[in-house]
Amino acid sequence: MIGRFGRIITFEMQNKTRIYTVSQVNVLIKVALEESLPPRLIVRGQISDWKHHTSGHCYFSLKDENGILPCVMWASRFKSVKFSPGDGIAVLATGHIDVYTVGGKYQLYVDKLEPEGIGALQLAFEQMYKQLKAEGLFEEKYKKPLPKYPMRIGILTSESGAAVHDIRDSIFNRWPCAKLFLYPVPVQGEGAADEIAAGLRDINRRNEELKLDILIVGRGGGSPEDLWAFNEEVLARAIFDSKIPVISAVGHEVDTTMADLVADARASTPTKAGVTAVPDMQEILGQLTYFEKRLDSTVRTELRLCRESLQTLLASSVFRNPLLPVRDREQQLDDLRTAITDSIRGLLAQALRKVNGSHEKVSKIEPYRLLRGNIVSLQTLEHRVELAMQSILNKANKSFTDKAASLKDAIAGLLADVRKQLQFNREEIARIRPEGVLRKKTVELSAIDGKANAGVKAVINKLQIQLTAQENRLVVLNPRSVLQRGYSITTNKKTGRLVRKLEDVQIGDLLTTELAEEKLVESKVTKKQNRGK
């Protein structure tokens, strides 16, 4: 450095009237700046003339009340800027000053740009919030209703984090019948938001086959930088576009991310995901039991009411006393008959009284004088009475006949009903055929009888054989059976004892000898001696 500086001085001293090219001057300035300025500096100012070129590089100026400083920020550096720079934003720009020889100007080469006052992330958040809100992404009308009983639940989170266990436990504690599907994604660092967003779109595309009812996107707590992926626009849009309802479950209670704002529902932490996403199974089981009870009691009540009204009907007089209308008519008939008889009697008595009256009058007024005329008028009178009586009788007779006929019809109708019922009963009985049943039973009975008989016979036969055996043994033991073999039994007729020894008989005794087959021989003792002597 010192050497180079020295070389310039020498150059100047030797060539006082030297002419420089533009490039040479620019190099001189470049070197002078390099030598005298700190290699890295932080500049405070307000952005103006902000241009984000299609190449990705940014060109702008920083200014304050008195001056302006041209700046450039290469795309590679700009990538890590979270907020959107723009005119009027107060910033701190870090970089170095160099000469842009082509443009003939010095400028600040910025490698870090931060908003002044508030943090970059916070500013970025506020900017994104404004933009998405203006587009309507947070509006209530776009929020999809969550299914009441989700059975297949997709979870997008890190496979290795604690969040996946928290979410799983919080769901299974309430709703163990659900099936969970983990879609592993990175949840922090460069590119995480892109991967989560791609995952959301992938699942939505495949949901014909996956059939997920609901998706949970989340991660556990961490620094604002750790959670940043959930603030990125690409993820917010993917959540908004999802056809499947999305629940966000990011960080701690206090953290609010863009994902939380745009999701259809938000769980404040992964451990609360279950409460947001699924119902409590115990509660639903209770509801089912309640339904069951309601159904049961309603149907029971209805049945009881029907049974009661049937009972009431059966208890009514029509069923209890079907002949009552007939009896009523009979009574009516009797009443009528009495009334008719009475009225005819009355009429007859009246007519008789009239005739008697006339008779008296006739006898009072010198009948012979008036006889001629009176006989005629009497005859007329008699004839009129007769006619009147006839007409009264006719009328009475007719109404009596009419009433009797209608009664007869009614009784005939009732009788026909009763007869029909009787016939029906008879047919019922005929259909059942009691005698057929009886016959069948008799056959069954005789079969049983036959079996029983055979059994008894077998027993008797067995006993019979045993009996014969016993008999044979007895026969052998019978002393008389010895007679068959030629032995005989001899009894002294005098003593009546069996002859066993010589002393049992005396000469001249009569002996009775019993042979086989109950033959007897009588003999007399003539000699007594021992054999062999």
Binding site: P147, K148, Y149, M151, G154, I155, E159, V164, R168, F172, P176, C177, K179, L180, F181, L182, Y183, P184, A198, G199, D202, I203, R205, R206, L210, M281, I284, L285, L288, F291, E292, R294, L295, D296, T298, V299, E302, L303, C306
Partner: protein, 72 residues
Amino acid sequence: MAKNEKKNDIGKMTFEEAIKELTSIVGKIEQGQIPLQDSLEQYEKGMVLIKHCRGILQKAEKRIEKIVEEKN
């Protein structure tokens, strides 16, 4: 035969569908607007639905399956 078909239908119902049907049956029967014969049929159907729902709730594998990105 028709009864069996009905049972199969209920067997294929999702929990949500079954609960919806059940709620409507309970409402219908409680209003008492349907004849006894129908309400007995509905009662029976309601009981089958309750059984189906309980069956779904008590089928708990508590497993977490992994789905991966489908590259196309």
